[in-house]
Structures are given as C-alpha cells and as structure tokens.
C-alpha cells in the first residue's frame, strides 16, 4: 500500500488544495459531497461552520474566529438543547464534540458514541461497545472523543479496540484490536487523522505494557506503520519491514526496557506542512526509578514522528528517569512565535512536571521554558543550553536502603496528577496568549519496607496527594509564550479538569468541577458568564456556527482521575453529584443583545 502525502498549507489557496487532495489518492473525492477529507481536517481551524478534528484543527489551538458571542453579548447565552448520557453510566464525560454537516458526534464513558442533530439535539444513532469483564483502565472509564474521516466516525474503546462506524447509520464498518486488554491495555484518547492515516497510541502502564504509536488506513483499519516508544523495541515500517526504536540499552540497563511503559495515552497534534506528528509519551515502568537507572528514552517525552513511516524525527524529553509519575503525554500546541526578530514555527507544552516549554517544532530545539505553576520543587528550572531539567535532588529514597517502618518522606511538587493533566490548554490568535488549566498540589512519598501485595511481602512506596492552599487547587493561567509571564490567573477551589476554548469574541471558556461552564475575559480574567450544568465539567468546550448563529457545546459529567486518586483532595470533591449531559448554548436573542452594543 502506498500513501501519498496531502500537504496543504493552512494559508494555501483553495485551488492548490484541491489539486493536492486529488493527487492524494484515487479514492478521495474532493468535491463537496459530505465526506471528510484530510484537506478539510488540515484546514479545520479556518472554517467556523464545522469542527472536524480533535483540538479544533491539527495545531490543537482550540481557538475559533467566531465573535458573535463576545464580551458584550455573552450575557445572553442560554441553553439551546441538552442530551443525557443516560442510564447508570453517566460518570466521567471528557468528550470533545465534532460537528459536520449539521450532525454532532460525541463519545461517552464506557466506550459509547452518538450522532445528534446539532440544531435540535435529537439523537440520530448510538453505538454502545460491548465491554468484556476484566478491562483495566487505570483512571476511570472515560473517552475523550472521536475522529471523522471519509464517511466514517472512528473511536477507541476501553478494551483496546479501534471501531469505525458509518457516519449516517452508526453501523460498524471495521473493528481492530490495538492490544490485549487482559495484559493491561486500554484506550481513552481521541485518535488523530494525519497524512490520510488514522493515528493512535495506547493506554496502560503497569505489568509490562509498552507504549506504541500506530498508523492505520482509516478506511479499513489495516496497520500501515507502528512505532514503539521505548528504545530497543521493534516497530514496523510501511510495507512490513522492521525497524528498531532508538538504540537498545542506550538509556536503559539490562532487560528493563522490555516492560518499559511510556504509553502515549493522549492524542497527538499534526503539522501538515512539515508532515510531522507530535505525540507525548507516558512515564517509564516500574514507578520505582531505582530499578531502571538512565534517561529511559523515549518515556516522558514529546516525539515528532514522520507521518509517512513513523520514524522518530526528533524527541524532547521533559522528565528524564521520571520518578514522580509526571509522565509526558501533554499535548503540543503548534503556533507561530516571534523570536529574535524572526517568525519561528514553534510549539508549546504545559507538562505534568510543572514546566511550560516552547520548542522549535521543526527540530525540537528548546527556545524557552518556565514554571507555569507556582509550586515546583523537583527541579529549579530548565537548562536552556542542554534542554535538561536542573534537578534539586528531591527524589524519593531507594526502598532497599530504607530504615524504620516508613523510610524518609519526601514532599514533591507538583503532585503526580501534574501541574496540568490531560485537559487541554488553548492558544488565542487574538491575544497571543496560552490559557492553561493548571493545578497547584503536592504529594508526600514515603518508602514502605513492610508492605504486602497480592498475598506476598513487597517493597514499595506510599504516596498521597494533597492541596497546597486552603482556598484553591485549580488556577487558570494566561501565559505569554514570548516572555513566559503570567498575564492573569483565575483561581478555583477544586482541580481544573476541563479543556479550554478561546474565541475572537475576546472570551475564554472552560468548565469546573463545581458544575460551571464559564466565560471569562481573555485580557483580564474577569468572569462574564457562567452556567450551572448540574454535575462537574470535565469535558471540552467547542464552538461553531449554524444558520448564522454561534453555538457552544460542552459535556458535563463528573469523573476522571481526581475522584479516584485524589488523596486529600477527595474531601474537596466528594460532594459533587453524578450526572451526564451534553449542553449546547446559543444567544437567546441576537438582535436584542446586539442593540446593547
């Protein structure tokens, strides 16, 4: 099978784009008959009448040029419709909606998917994946969204499968197993369409799971290439030839790499012009770093993969020899940066480890880095020459050297749930700022020489997560990528676990566990509007326009890792009630609101 690249510049003209699309494949129909092409996905951010990709465009900026809903009119935002996730499976709604041709595609917890009439909220079809016993998602039953391509809607399931259904009927067109769920694998991210390929990672970090990025023919599910993200493992090139990831035993001792972890469990972003896929990898296994000295490449790393063959073009490791479960899966958001008088193809990442990195996305060179949370004590900063963290030595002790019944205790900041977790930041083209849903928390780690695991003695560590401040955990921060200064911040009593949306209307939308979808001013952080959705918001707001009206939609439904792993955060969120609704908003009366201007 031969795949030809479709490279369209985001700024390219329509005619050249059509030519390139036609060249891409005999099967791609470039005419507007409703099917979704790579071209449309590449240009997603330029169109306001649709959301055809996770991240609202391959750059993952989550920015819309729509401004009907703006600082003056947002007060008139009211529900247009709502849709219930139903039954007893309401918890944990982290989906991002896709909208195309008047239809909204959403996923739900427990591996479910729906098509809704985007205008009325009426259900068109539903797909409920039959889950076997013994699935092992570590951190709740969530799903973050689907991909659409051609006439298919494609998503991944908790039992580690990719499922493609017919966009019109919801009937299954193909199903492929990613990995063995009985060996601890699962899938919760939204897959990426790039280079006319379906790109997905995998989830699962314990008991021997190894991270891998896979490219498939989106029409058939057939594997095109695969790239394990731990050095020494064999990947597959297009055509079936094997190729090793990195160099075996370069940064791992002995056979530890065999169960090295590193699962890229969140989605990736894509630069169509460079034809590079950017994806973050998870923490190395096991958690105890004394078992695996070395940098442990390519765990806790951002990888740039050649979309044609999956080869690693560059890598940037944010946490070498990760001992804090910081992981490195956070999204890389692509943007243009004015740097030393030039416009640089840049990208930014707010890492779980508490640092905000600005990279050159062509070569992975570090341009700048700074803390984006106030409390970081594992490293003083990032050495801009070497790109490596300047560690403070605040690592947990070796359990083999522990004295007493509990060895010495270490307080590490941020906590393992990270300065920012999976929920995505947004880059506003209007202000040139990043809006980061951050959290300020810490963890205590101690050795447990006397402990037992599954019927036998064990040497482990205990840890517990706790707040740093009395009055806040979550902090939405507006960060300038040029100066790395925080322009403003908006505190929240509980952890922020929702993605962020920015618009040309001067607004920043995000959700809170308290149940609110909020709109704040993108220059001051002043709250201009909020709506109580009835349960915690851990979803991802998006916006589009339909028949001259701007719509905003977000999933509400408390869940995810915080209630499961939140330690002393637990009491802050234990009162939050369950619920599961897709809420869609528009202005109540555009004319009246406009007259107020």
């Amino acid at each position: 099978m031969r795949f030809t690249r479709t490279r369209s510049m985001l700024t390219g003209g329509a005619s050249s784009a059509l030519v390139l699309a036609a060249l891409a494949s005999g099967n791609v129909v470039a005419s507007d008959n409703g099917v979704v092409t790579q071209q449309m996905i590449n240009e997603d951010a330029m169109h306001t009448d649709r959301v055809t990709s996770y991240g609202m465009g391959p750059y993952h900026q989550r920015y819309s040029t729509l401004d009907q809903v703006n600082r003056d009119t947002v007060g008139g935002l009211v529900p247009a419709w709502a849709f219930s996730f139903g039954g007893e499976q309401q918890r944990g709604q982290e989906t991002q909606a896709l909208i195309h041709d008047g239809v909204m595609f959403i996923t739900g917890s427990y591996s479910r998917m729906w098509a809704l009439d985007a205008k009325s909220g009426e259900m068109l079809w539903s797909y409920e994946h039959r889950l076997p016993d013994g699935i092992s998602p570590c951190c709740d039953v969530v799903n973050r969204g689907a991909a659409i391509y051609d006439d298919l809607v494609i998503f991944g399931t908790l039992d580690a499968m990719m499922v493609a259904v017919d966009r019109e009927t919801g009937r299954v067109r193909w199903r492929e197993r990613i990995a063995d769920y009985q060996a601890g694998y699962s899938y919760t991210a939204a897959p990426l369409i790039a280079n006319d390929l379906l790109i997905h990672g995998n989830s699962g970090g314990e008991f021997g799971a190894v991270g891998e990025v896979t490219a498939r023919d989106p029409r058939t599910g057939e594997k095109v290439w695969s790239r394990p993200v731990v050095e020494g493992h064999m990947g597959m090139l297009p055509g079936g030839e094997e190729s090793m990831t990195g160099e075996k035993n370069a940064t791992w001792e002995g056979e530890a790499y065999v169960q090295g972890g590193g699962a890229p469990w969140l989605g990736g972003s894509y630069d169509p012009e460079l034809n590079l896929i950017y994806i973050g990898t998870g923490n190395p296994a096991p958690w105890n770093a004394y078992s695996r000295p070395g940098d442990n490449l390519y765990t806790s790393t951002t990888l740039a993969l050649d979309a044609d063959n999956g080869e690693i073009v560059w890598h940037y490791q944010t946490t070498p020899n990760d001992h804090w479960d910081y992981d490195g899966v956070n999204e890389l958001v692509l943007f243009d940066l004015e740097h030393d008088g030039e416009t640089v193809k840049a990208a930014a990442k707010a890492d779980r480890n508490g640092f905000f990195y600005v990279l050159n996305r062509e070569n992975g060179e570090l341009l700048n880095a700074a803390k984006f949370v106030d409390n970081v004590n594992w490293a003083e900063g990032i050495d801009l020459e070497t790109g490596r963290p300047i560690e403070t030595g605040n690592r947990p002790g070796n359990p083999a050297d522990a004295d007493g019944e509990e060895g010495e205790s270490v307080v590490a900041q941020p906590a393992f749930l990270g300065g920012k977790n999976w929920n995505h930041m947004s880059y506003s083209q209007r202000t040139g700022l990043f809006y980061i849903p951050a959290n300020e928390w810490e963890m205590e780690i101690w050795n447990e020489p006397v402990t037992y695991r599954r019927g036998a003695a064990y040497l482990g560590a205990g840890f517990t997560i706790r707040p740093i401040y009395d009055d806040k955990v979550g902090v939405l921060r507006a960060m300038d990528p040029q100066t790395l200064e925080v322009k403003f911040e908006v505190p929240n009593p509980t952890p922020l676990w929702s993605s962020v949306l920015t618009t040309a209307g001067g607004l920043v939308f995000y959700g809170t566990p308290e149940g609110h979808l909020k709109a704040i001013c993108d220059e001051t952080g002043e709250e201009l509007w909020h709506f109580q959705t009835g349960s915690g918001v851990v979803g991802q707001p998006v916006t589009w326009e339909m028949d001259g009206e701007q719509y905003i939609t977000v999933a509400s439904g408390w869940g995810g890792a915080v209630p499961l792993w939140g330690g002393e955060i637990g009491p802050l969120v234990s009162h939050i009630t369950q619920g599961g609704m897709m809420w869609t908003f528009k202005l109540a009366d555009i004319h009246a609101a406009s007259a107020n201007r």
């Binding site: 989830s203 296994a285 096991p286 479960d325 070796n398 447990e448 037992y452 040497l459 890792a561």
Partner: protein, 336 residues
C-alpha cells in the same frame, strides 16, 4: 490515566469485609441458614485463581471449602483482583450502600466475611486496625530455586548476592524479588534480572536453561516446579535471609485469615476449625496437592531456617498437578 504504579495509600472507601450488624453475631446468622462468604484473589497462582474450566481453584479455595465443611455451613466464594497493596485490598472496596466507581466491587447482598491469605505481621496489623488477622495456616518465606549445573550446590540459607553475580535471574515482574534484585546490592544484580509475567513462566525459563535461578516465595516456587510433570537436570532450593541492609524488609511471614473486628463468635469458630484442619492433616494434604511442602505458621516474621522439603526435585511435594488444580492464566503452553 497516569497513575499506573506505586502504592496509593490514600484511597477513600469503606471495607471489603462485612461487619456484624449491631444486634446479631454474624456467626449466628451464618449458622441460621446463611452462608460464609469468603474472598480470595482470582489471579494468585497457586493459591486462588481461575482454573482451566473457568471455576475458582487453588490452595486457598480448597481450604476455604474445608473450613465451611468443618463449620457445617455453606461457603460463597468471592474472587477479586489484586490492587496495589493488600492494605488497599482490605480497605478500598465499597460498602453495600455505594457504587459510584468502576474500580470497586459492588456487593449486591453483602461484603465477604473472611479474606484468605492475609499476612500475620504486627506492622501490617497495626496499619489495618479494623481487621482481625488470625488462624495462621502457613509459613511463607523467600527462596531461590537454582540450576545446580550452573551454580553448583548452594548453602541451605543464603545471605549474600555473591553466588548470583553475572547470572541471569528470573523473577515475576514487580514483585518483592524484582525489587530486591534491581534496587538492592548497589545494582550489581540489576542488569541480569529477567522479568516474567508469572513465577511459573520464570521456572519454565529455568528448565529451558534461559536463567540460572528464580527468586520468589517458596510456596509459589514449589508449586510452579510441580506444574511441570517431567523435568531433567538437577535443581536445588535455598532460603534467603539477611540479604538487605535493613531488617525491616520481610523475607518470611505467616499467612492467615482476615475478618472485620467485633465478631468474637465468628473468630472463635474459624480459629477452632482451622486448628482442627491443621491437626488432622487436611491443610498439609491440600498444600501437597499443589506440590507445596507445607510448614505451619510460626507466630513471628523472622528467621528462615531450613526449608521444609518433600520427596520431589528441589523438595517439592509432588510432580505434576491434577488438571483441576491448574491456573488458566499461568498454565505452561502444551501442558494440561
């Protein structure tokens, strides 16, 4: 995702084990037409696991049934998956009123009365004060099963890593043995430590000559070796003691039964029944059926002493298991 390993100590939640209602002694309810609900791991070869016919099998399963028989009550077995620590296994389960987390078991009727295979250890007990851990029925200890052709004859108790330097050593991944070998001894054994998905798989590597020795709890090693009906070569087993700088790390411990505190009737009945089963040889016989040369609880966590030994190779109690006693998840390919 992201929290995939390590021990999470602070999960909120109620008890796995059921408690007595305010007015009634649990044992009276059980005798009065109820049943004794007993929790066992469902992935713990050879003590409790899903068998080849998808039923629960293993030493603890047979022992739980023998307990019920001795008490004259019906037994309901409840298989559950191991969590990050036994403390959380005891504590993390939801009570009967709550069901809002996918990871916690939901008990439509009531939580189990007993949990099998819980360590009797003063430190562990102090951390889990809501539970009575009693009726000790086995003494477990860390051991090494080795290939005599490669390592020669080793002493009965080993307290130095020296015999193993440069040798490939098999372990079950992320167990105490794995941490011993990769974290201890200044890393001298780290590069040659080889992970396996189970002790049975590690023993298979030993029989195939891929590793020189396997480290693990003695009972698991005995049963793993007994799983192979025919073996060639000569294998020895030694105890491991004082290997670490700290005496806090356990290399031997007693195994018993946990129950919620405040059930004196239930506790007394279970302790008596277990004592009877030990006295009449039932316990030793059940262990022997799985290849394990049984040794009784000693009442402390120190000292390894000499290994109890059966007549089989490396002291196992038998060679080859009944098909009904083989665990589905760890059965060697081509056998049974």
């Amino acid at each position: 995702m992201g929290v995939k390993s390590g021990i999470i100590a602070a999960l909120a939640g109620a008890a796995l084990l059921g408690s007595a209602t305010a007015s009634a002694e649990r044992m009276d309810e059980i005798r009065d037409g109820g049943s004794l609900k007993i929790a066992v791991y469902n992935d713990f070869t050879p003590y409790s696991c899903v068998g080849l016919e998808r039923d629960l099998t293993g030493v603890d399963v047979e022992l739980a049934n023998a307990l019920g028989e001795k008490l004259g009550v019906n037994v309901d077995l409840f298989g559950f998956s191991a969590g990050d620590s036994m403390g959380s296994d005891l504590q993390r389960r939801m009570d009967e009123q709550r069901d809002d987390s996918w990871s916690d078991d939901y008990f439509p009727d009531r939580a189990p009365d007993l949990m099998m295979h819980v360590p009797i250890d003063p430190v562990f007990a102090a951390r889990n004060p809501e539970y009575e851990i009693t009726a000790g029925y086995f003494h477990e200890s860390m051991a090494v099963l080795y290939d005599r052709e490669r390592l020669g004859e080793l002493p009965a108790v080993i307290n130095t890593p020296d015999p193993f330097i440069g040798e490939r050593l098999g372990v079950e991944m992320y167990t105490l043995s794995y941490v011993f070998l990769t974290n201890g001894f200044d890393g001298r054994l780290r590069e040659t430590t080889v992970n396996h998905t189970s002790v049975v798989e590690a023993v298979e590597s030993l029989l195939d000559g891929k590793v020189s020795a396997v480290m693990g709890p003695r009972g698991e090693l005995h049963s793993a070796l007994a799983t192979f009906p025919e073996i060639s070569g000569s294998y020895g087993m030694s105890g491991l003691d004082d290997l670490f700088r700290t005496d806090r790390v356990r290399s031997a411990w007693d195994v018993g039964v946990a129950m919620q505190i405040g059930n004196p009737g239930l506790q007394e009945a279970v302790e008596q029944a277990m004592a009877d089963l030990i006295e009449d040889g039932t316990v030793a016989e059940i262990f022997a059926q799985y290849g394990i040369a049984w040794t009784g609880a000693r009442g402390d966590v120190s000292g390894n002493g000499a290994m109890p030994a059966g007549d089989g190779p490396a002291g196992v109690a038998r060679q080859g298991l009944e098909r009904s006693r083989v665990c589905r998840a760890t059965v060697p390919a081509g056998l049974y």
